[in-house]
Each structure stands twice: as C-alpha cells, then as structure tokens.
C-alpha cells in the first residue's frame, strides 16, 4: 500500500467536487461495513484531504485512516474497503455506479476472501438496488422471521451456504455466554457479604471518632473459570471447526480462553484468536496452523498437549472442550492414556463430537470407545442449537450428556 506511488485519483483532471463525492460514497460504504462514520467525519475527511495536499496513494490512505478509524480493530475493515473502493479508476467508477441508486453494480467474489473482506463486500451493494416492488418487499420481510432464524439454528454447519455461514457467525457473536462462575480465594467489598471487612469497618468508624462502628462486609470474589479448547482441524472436521473457532472467539470476550488446534500436530492459536475482529483472528490462526484439512493424529496431539501445555494452561480450574470426531486411524493404548492424563489434569472435560448429530450414532469406532471413558460429558456440535446447548451446559453441570450412556448399549 505504502509503496504504491500513484496519485489518487489517477485522473488528474478529476474535479475536486468529484473527490468529495467519492469520499462521501466511501464513508457510506464504511458505515455499512460497520464503522461508526457520521456525516461530521465526512466533512472532516474532505477538509483533511484538502489540507494535506495529498501527493501519493499512501498519504491519501493514511489521511482517511486518521479520520475514519477510531479503534485498532477497525483498521482491517478500513483497509479492505479502501482497497476495494480506490483500487483502480475503472473500479472506482464501477463502485460509484454501484453506489448510485440507478444501476446495480457487479460484484466479484473470490474463493478465499481476506479477513473482513466479506463484510466489506456485502456492505457495498447495500442500498444500491432499486427499491423492490411492494410484492417482493413482502417476500423479503418474510425471510427474516423467527422461523428463518430457527431453520438456520438447526441447520448443519457442513450444509450451510456461504451466506448462511456469514449469518451464523453473526448469531454466534451475539450468543448469550455461559454464566458459570467459581469462587476465588480473593475478597471483594460486598454490602450483603458474610464476613466483616475489618479494614473498611475501621476506616468508617473513624468518621465518627470511633463512637459508632458501622460494619463493612466482604464476600469471596467470583470469576469465570478459564476454558481450554482443543480443536481438531483435520479434513473431516474442517466445516465444523471454523465455526467452532468463531464460538471460541466469542467466548474469549468474558473469560480467558486458551485455544489449540491439531491435525497431525498441535498448534497454540490463543494469541491469534485474541484479535478483536473475528475474521482477522481466524485468518491469523489459519496462518499459524500448517495442517488444516489434513489427516489427524489425536493421540500424539493430546500427548503433546499434556507434556507441553497442560501444566501451563490447566492450572486455574480450567474446563477443557475437546472438539474432535475421535476417528483415529490407529488406536493404540496411548490414546486412552493421553485422555486419562488430560481428564485428571482438568476440572471438567467436555467432548464435542459432530458425529453425534446422526440419530443412529453408536460408539463403535475404536478411537471413540477408547476416549469415551475419560470424558465428563459427550455432546454434539454441528449447528447453532448445539452451540446454545453447550452454553447452557457450561452454565450448569450437564447431566444429560453422560458419556457412559454411549458405552452401555454397544457393550
């Protein structure tokens, strides 16, 4: 971006008024993409561009950046929007055409969009089409009723279209997070507490010269226990694991979440997922893990986790979410041993298995039979309803997901 020395707009003859219009259109696109850009910012931006005597594309970029971006997380969106909007003279024209309420613009889509690109891309055509005829408007409004939401919630992640996945991601971001808490050994002031806070009481007593002692109380502080997630990213799981990582990203808002992905080897993606923007977080996590959609070695990955990480991340009463289908090719005693060690190192081990979505699921596979005795809960994770169920289960101790149930009938 900075290396590009072309002037903007490339057509020197473009009148200043044209640029002002473009900035206004650009601001509108940013607003649709989710940036809080008000009309004041547009005026500021035009003034800034005029004041800065823009010479290069990079100058132009950073001038607009200074005005429109107010949080670090918005930089990605801005970058994508800028690239899309100001890429070439022709495209600028095209996008202006797309933004004008006369003709619908063409929308190019790539297979692998950059983080945030999808949201930006959907931001551009909005409001571009002609107002639909009343009859069509009725249809449109009918699409966004509760039944639509419910249909999406019960739809298998693997069968979702790109648009549905995008909508699912938004629903995940808005998910009500689990309310489970554990008491810590730390105290906090609480008027309804059970213990006398001697220090605070004494300070209060001094206010009356010690004549009255107005007792202050304290209570044990509570916090959300950390979650440690081990996510299988092998080929058979890829459709599910991406949305599950979105779920983890949402979960990390309230509590410490340590995330690991594994296919043939284990990768710690905690830092990558800590980025504010979910798309950006997922993209940087994908860069870290080199074994997406490959094979899987559950036993080796778990053993590696036990050796290298369990002592570092499981110390604070962590809940482990193990996300895998358990279809290990070669089942060795190491798998059971690794699961046993993992189970005894954490407070609660929840196995999430998308295979459980089938009604006729039976614990037949050797890997599944080896792993089941060592988990506290066995749940499915293949659609939004399952995600909501997991949230509910984390809030209370889940009795309905007893893993032994699956071992009994097949035994």
């Amino acid at each position: 971006m900075q290396g590009d020395r072309r002037t903007v707009p490339p057509d020197d003859a473009a009148p200043a008024g044209h640029l002002a219009d473009n900035i206004a259109y650009f601001a509108r696109a940013l607003r649709t993409a989710g940036l809080p850009v008000g009309p004041g910012a547009v005026v500021d931006a035009i003034a800034a561009v005029e004041a800065a005597h823009i010479g290069t594309r990079a100058d132009f970029y950073w001038t607009l950046h200074a005005i429109f971006v107010t949080k670090h997380a918005q930089s990605v969106i801005f970058d994508q929007a800028f690239r899309l909007f100001w890429r070439r003279r022709a495209l600028v024209e095209k996008l202006i055409a797309a933004l004008s309420p006369i003709a619908p613009g063409e929308q190019t889509s790539k297979d692998k969009p950059k983080p945030g690109a999808e949201r930006v891309a959907t931001a551009f055509p909005t409001g571009t089409r002609e107002p639909p005829p009343p009859k069509r408007a009725l249809e449109l409004s009918a699409q966004f009723t509760m039944s639509d939401r419910e249909r999406l919630a019960s739809r298998d992640f693997a069968q979702m279209s790109a648009a549905e996945i995008a909508e699912a991601k938004q629903l995940i971001a808005r998910l009500v997070l689990p309310q489970d808490k554990v008491t810590t050994r730390r105290w906090r002031a609480d008027p309804r507490g059970r213990r006398i806070d001697a220090r605070a009481s004494f300070r209060r007593a001094l206010a009356t010269g010690g004549h009255f002692v107005d007792l202050a109380w304290r209570q044990r502080a509570e916090r959300h226990p950390p979650v440690v997630a081990l996510v299988d990213i092998s080929g058979s799981m890829a459709d599910y694991s991406r949305l599950f990582l979105h779920f983890l990203h949402a979960l990390a808002e309230r509590r410490p979440v340590a995330s690991f992905v594994f296919g043939t080897r284990l990768t710690n993606v905690t830092r990558a997922l800590a980025r504010r923007d979910p798309d950006e977080a997922l993209a940087s996590a994908s860069l870290l893990a080199k074994d997406w959609e490959g094979g899987t070695r559950v036993a080796a990955s778990l053993a590696q986790f036990n050796r290298q990480w369990s002592r570092r991340v499981l110390g604070q009463g962590a809940i482990v979410l193990l996300f895998t289908d358990g279809l290990e090719r070669e089942v060795t005693p190491e798998l059971g041993a690794a699961m046993d060690r993992l189970h005894r190192s954490c407070r609660r081990l929840v196995w999430l298995n998308p295979l459980l979505r089938y009604d006729g699921f039976q614990a037949r596979a050797g890997g599944i039979r080896a792993m089941l005795p060592h988990v506290d809960e066995f749940r499915t994770m293949h659609n939004l309803n399952a995600m909501t169920a997991l949230v509910a289960a984390l809030s209370v101790k889940g009795e309905d997901a007893d893993p032994r149930r699956w071992l009994l009938p097949a035994a």
Binding site: R185, R186, W187, A198, R203, L206, G209, A303, R312, R341
Partner: protein, 303 residues
C-alpha cells in the same frame, strides 16, 4: 557486607563460593540484573533450582532474604501491609479515656507507622544495615492476575502507596528475584519490567558438579552413574522429568542405602524418589530400567 560482583566471572565465582554451580547464561543475566537494578524473572520446571538462586545470592552477599510465597487470593493485606486494628481500637479507647477529642491528632496517631504491620513487599523497601535485601517473590504463577497489578508499582519504582500514610519509597532498591513454574502465563506488562531467564535442566557436566558440591561424601563412581542415569531418563517421554532437586534427593537416598553402584533392583526400589507420577514409574519399571542402566554403564565404561 560483600559488594556486588563487577563482572560475569565474578558472579559465577560468587555463586560457586556459596555452593551453587551456575552456567554462564544464568551468571550473565544475574550480573545484568544486579548491575541494572532490574528484577530478575526466573522461569523453569519445578526443581531446577530457581528458589535456590535467591537463597544462595542472599547468603553470598550477606544480605537479608525476604521471601514472599505466592498463593491464590494473596492480597495487599498479606503481601504489602496491614493495619493493626486491635491496637488501633485500643489506642482510640485510651485516647477517649484520657479525654482526647481532637480528631486530626487522633487520626494521625492511629495511622502512624507504629500500627502498620509490614508484610514482605514493604519490608523489602526498608533500609537495612547489611545493604538492600534480596526479595524473593516465589511461584508468582500461583496467584491470580489481580495480584500482579500490585507488583507493577513495586517493581518499576520500588515504592508502595499506603493511602492513609503516604508513599513509602526505598532509598536503595532491593534485589528482586521472581520465580514461576509456568502453570500460567505471567502478563507481559510484568515481564517487561524484568530480565527474563529460563532455568533449564543442567547438562551432565554441570549436574555432576552440583551433586559433588552438595554431596561431597558420595562415592565418585556412584555419583557419575546417578548423573548419567538421570540425564538418560530426562530424554525419555515422561510426563514430568526429574529436576536437580530430585537428583540430589536420589543421590542422598542411595548414599543412605550404602549403595556403591547402581543395579536394577536398587533403582527400581528407589524410583519413587526420582519420578513422582505413577504413569511415569510404570513406564520405567522393570525391563526398561535394566536396559537403560546397561546402556548408561556401557557408555560410562567407554568414556
């Protein structure tokens, strides 16, 4: 009062004189910490001698060692200071009985240093005749993140603020060593203020020197075998590899048993001194011990 070492070699010699066999990287980072007046953050597996560094340093420099053992829920009242409420109440009562009515005087009197109970972090800021003390903040990973925030002020400015009293500043900053077993990641903000060193398992040569320094009466042949065996066992796929502390325990256990050389039976019987997880003991038990012992002894003969 011993003065601070003026070079890395002197630091090595200082630790060596107190019976701690350090490697050069450790001596370098310790020297820098002493020179720059920065806290030293030591991380490593349990039993590699992190706490020992502080003890030895305090002993060798003739400084006072102030130790703050961390645990979950550690708060200001037990780490920094606490007011002696009972004595304060008594003072107020006595003041009343004597007809004292001036509130300002009462308050100034009650919140004076006399009623301040000093906890380790505050003690470390006090001047000492033997020179600034060595402050050991042990196993910091055992507390929660909230406690790390208290440390930030202490570690960057070497001062503590008591609201009723004012800011207490150290005239000469203490030597601060922080240890962590890495059961949790320490926040970057705290690490930034420190020099960092990962204390690793020692190599064979250094471990031999450590055992010889600590257990001079152990038979030389036995010591060599013990160290070679422990070095070999660390290469195995174990959940918890034995630390230096375990090596020393094992060596003294074998000396107590009057062993002159290792044999499979003795190793199997005393494996619990070395390995602390049942899974690990099980994988090492029986033929594995014998095979490893044979390999170790053959290697020692060849050397």
């Amino acid at each position: 009062m011993t003065s601070l070492p003026s070079s890395i070699d002197e630091t090595l010699a200082l630790l060596g004189s107190a019976g701690y066999v350090a490697d050069r990287p450790l001596a370098t980072v310790l020297f820098l910490a002493l020179r720059m007046g920065r806290p030293l953050f030591l991380e490593g597996e349990a039993g590699v001698g992190k706490t020992e560094i502080a003890k030895v340093l305090a002993g060798a420099l003739g400084r006072r060692l102030i130790r703050l053992q961390c645990y979950e829920g550690l708060d200001v009242a037990s780490a920094v200071y606490e007011w002696n409420y009972a004595a304060q109440m008594m003072a107020i009562r006595l003041g009343e009985a004597a007809g004292e009515t001036d509130r300002d005087r009462l308050e100034a009197d009650v919140f004076s240093e006399r009623y301040l109970l000093k906890r380790p972090l505050l003690q470390a800021l006090e001047p000492d005749t033997a020179g600034p003390p060595v402050l050991l903040i042990d196993e910091l990973d055992r507390t929660d993140e909230a406690f790390e925030a208290f440390l930030l002020e202490v570690l960057s400015d070497f001062q503590v603020t008591v609201p009723e009293f004012g800011t207490i500043r150290a005239d000469s900053p203490p030597i601060v060593l922080i240890t962590s077993n890495r059961t949790r990641e320490i926040h970057d903000a705290l690490k930034r203020r420190c020099l960092y060193h990962w204390v690793d398992y020692p190599d064979a040569e250094r471990e031999l020197a450590i055992v010889k320094a600590r257990l001079p009466n152990a038979p030389a042949e036995l010591t060599r075998e013990i160290v070679a065996f422990v070095q070999a066992i660390r290469k195995q796929d174990l959940f918890k590899a034995p630390g230096v502390a375990e090596t020393l325990d094992w060596a003294s256990a074998l000396v107590e048993l009057d062993a002159v050389a290792l044999d499979p039976a003795v190793v199997s019987d005393t494996l619990g001194v070395l390995l602390k997880y049942q899974d690990d003991i099980q994988t090492m038990q029986g033929s594995a011990v014998k095979a490893m012992l044979d390999a170790v002894q053959a290697e020692l003969k060849a050397a």
